[in-house]
């Protein structure tokens, strides 16, 4: 019994050692946040919808993060900013500088995901994949749904959409 226990402990320790030695664990990536954007402030307090700022959802493959052209539509008129974050935005707007957002996750090259197919043609709600964004008070740092092919295929099978490989891998 003691022998088996010691074998087991050794096995587990060496497995963990091998894990770290031969490859890094997928930790959540630390991104530098330029402005601490609060979805709660913009959606609940100012009653905006997703597509007011994310204007490419229904027309493009990639939705993208809105940048200075969209923000300055409103923030250019706020000439005396109150909070810290508003002051930061005002600095970007007045110089017309691009805000350096960083994607914490990018769709890999071997798969093609098109926003337009899912929102405009498929008529899906934003919250189904992204969760309830109206409660978030700071920028997002991890996925709401883990990005595995199993999640996509399960939803496709449930809604009777084609699961042909080449529709997404080409």
């Amino acid at each position: 019994m003691k022998n088996i226990l010691s074998f087991l402990v050794l096995f587990i320790i060496s497995a963990i050692a091998g894990f770290y030695f031969f490859g890094k664990v997928q930790m959540p990536k630390t991104v530098l946040v330029a402005v601490s954007f609060s979805h709660y402030v913009h959606t609940k307090q100012h009653k905006m919808e997703c597509k007011n700022c994310h204007q490419n959802i229904n027309t493009q493959q990639r939705a993208g993060i809105p940048n200075i052209e969209t923000c300055s539509l409103c923030h250019a008129n706020i000439i005396n900013p109150q909070s810290e974050e508003e002051k930061k935005i005002y600095n970007y707007v007045k110089d017309n500088k691009l805000i350096p957002w960083q994607n914490y996750y990018v769709v890999p090259d071997y798969a093609i995901f098109s926003h337009r197919r899912h929102t405009k043609i498929g008529n899906l709600e934003c919250g189904l994949c992204h969760g309830d964004m109206t409660t978030q008070t700071s920028p997002i740092l991890n996925n709401f749904r883990p990005f595995e092919m199993k999640i996509c295929v399960d939803c496709h099978k449930q809604k009777n959409i084609t699961t042909e490989c080449n529709n997404c891998h080409h």
């Binding site: 071997y110 093609i112 098109s114 197919r117 043609i121 080449n166 891998h169 080409h170």
Partner: protein, 230 residues
Amino acid sequence: MALYGMVIDLNKCNHCESCITACKVENNLQIVSKESAEMGRVMQWMRLATASYEGNYPDVRPVTMPALCLQCDDPPCTKVCPVRATYRRDEDGIVAQIYPQCIGCRYCMGNCPYNVKVFNWYKEAQPIEYEKCYNIDVAVRVKGVVEKCTFCIHRLQKAKENAAAEHRKVTEEDYIPACAQVCPAHAISVGDLDDPNSNVSRLKSDYRKFTLQEELGTQPKVFYLSAKSK
């Protein structure tokens, strides 16, 4: 269901090689190193193959034709893939290739009688001026997968998406592969063989039609038109 085929008119083709460059640039093909090129591992999905020369000097003319994947209706390559990385799609008749699924055994390459499948032996560093001009719709293949011409299926998917967003069907003007789009002599036509009004259906019934190695029973969907008399 659509059935996409191609007709190449060899009496119009004047060997300018635009179709080959267009295929390479559209599909982000790899430029191999000089050592690999010497070993015959240049990656080309479409080649301008000289079969033979006919005639006596000085009336010698080469028999040349663009050779690409013939998108067979009974493909020998799909029958031997152990992981179903290549398969024939029923909805449009294109023989598709799934790069993440391929394990690189190259059994399909040996089975293809026309030698149109290409393998990524190594992943070479690409010149940066070529990398910046990659087509974003097409995945860049990794080391160890087999690839071949797919009739620019990414353009077909985009056309279907546009058509679905506008609540209509895919017409002939929506989808055209890169080689057919750039040919200066308009020698290459791609279309729906099931549609009796399309260009390809009309050209397929031309008396000059022939196709390669019909006796093997692969039922290819790329037809060549060539009249022997000059």
